[in-house]
Symmetry: C2
Subunit: 246 residues, 2 copies
DNA sequence: CGGTTCCTTGAGAGAACTCAACGTCGGTGG
DNA sequence: CCACCGACGTTGAGTTCTCTCAAGGAACCG
């Protein structure tokens, strides 16, 4: 359902070497320690517009681990307004916020061609009992997601939020030019800013020569200026290598 | 340090029957299942003004579980502004957002005479390996905290935020009249509202006869009105009994 | 080409903030 | 006992940041 193998619905399925560093199945840089996650996770391609990974209110059946692409989690309130609760990038686990209630707190769809690992809870739970390392990894992931949500939940100016967002995305997506997977509308919705405000703010960054904006391809010129602006948000405390935590 | 046994620094230490339902050491209503948490957790009284449970940047040494009272977690940005990231009520676990980084993301102090269980990580980690139920419980707690943070992070009006907050606190603190443990200043800071706005909004609720305000003792009269207002926040989806999740 | 989605730019409106002052309460000490 | 102090709550007036509304341009796709 919703995941028919349309012609385009195939991304490199033959990625035997996991490109994701902080995947639940990986201990970090190397393959040294296994959590057992990889023994049960199957892979699935998710395309924008081809349906949701799950819907708000669904009972949680599986956890997902992003290998490639970008997905967004959102809810729709009574007035029909979409509220983006987060983006998932390679290495992120999807569904962690549903474990507490046992029910999905949001609808998750792809905003870019993506690939996720699917781990059914039925199999995941018994595995957790045998593989405590997996549980540890999941707690860490949830903890990080929590810290992120708390950081962005402050009342900051549009400048601050956007600067923090850009820096965060650059850190997550790697060096060089920053290619944003999501639309400005999505960014604004996520950061609680009007689309127009996102646009204006990006322009203003460009005018100050802090970034070189192409529509979705952004080159960060004055990283220090952005960092100074984003400091109060406290998103990137230090460049801790997450892989080593445990 | 900071926790000298001042005369007033003693709360009922002899609570053999844990008053907390969702404590990490408890499975829920009864004592049926043990996680082993209670075997290692010592108890500690924390008073407002008597120092912090831990400070932002500290390396995480222990997790805490609130038995009584109320604590707040906050950070201070470069300009010296306090930013409250959350309140901890009986049943909440403290320190979960630090597990990912291994470093405390906030400073935690009591806002009311409180009592917490202290579980050193040194002992908690090995225990988790032997007691997978404890790991599950921790993931659930973190997951719930995450869902809460995400709910309140939306851009809602002062009315909506405050209504949602009141209802949430009432649910957590139990029926009858609502005795808020924290100041309006703290509430405003937490909800990203100016103190004045909190005050004015509460007054307006009173004028509409939705609540009967005494300074910190609030009686909720028209709960439905508040719920209608707070609905978009999506804080209280349903009255799920958390105790049964697993 | 039409249609759609996304981005851009401008002008006006509104919700919440800031600043400033005052009242109240509970301690503390002369 | 009363004066003083600090923390907290209350109330008013002006300001500002961001949103809303409106419209147009650019890119993409069937």
């Amino acid at each position: 359902m919703a995941f028919d193998a349309t012609p385009q619905n195939r991304i490199s399925n033959e990625c035997l070497v996991c490109p994701v560093n902080q995947c639940l199945g990986r201990s970090g840089g190397g393959c040294s320690t296994r959590t057992g996650f990889e023994t049960l996770a199957s892979r699935r391609a998710v395309m924008p517009g081809s349906g949701a990974l799950y819907h708000v209110g669904d009972s949680l059946r599986s956890l997902y681990s992003v290998r490639a692409g970008c997905l967004k989690a959102y809810t729709v309130d009574a007035e029909g307004n979409e509220r983006i609760r987060g983006f998932y990038l390679p290495g992120d686990a999807i569904g962690l916020d549903a474990i507490g209630e046992g029910r999905c707190m949001s609808t998750v769809v792809a905003v870019a061609p993506s690939q996720v690992c699917v781990a059914p809870l039925d199999e995941l739970k018994p595995l957790m009992l045998r593989q405590p390392l997996l549980a540890t990894r999941m707690i860490e992931q949830t903890s990080r997601e929590l810290a992120l949500a708390l950081s962005l939940s402050g009342d900051f100016t549009a400048d601050q939020r956007l600067a923090a967002f850009l820096l965060y995305m650059r850190q997550r997506l790697g060096g060089g030019a920053l290619r944003l997977p999501m639309s400005q509308r999505d960014i604004g919705n996520y950061l609680r800013l009007a689309t127009e405000t996102v646009c204006r703010t990006l322009k203003s960054f460009g005018r100050k020569n802090w970034i070189a904006p192409g529509e979705r391809l952004i080159r960060i010129i004055d990283e220090y200026a952005l960092q100074r602006l984003a400091a109060p948000v406290g998103l990137l405390h230090d460049h801790t290598d997450w892989a080593q935590a445990a």
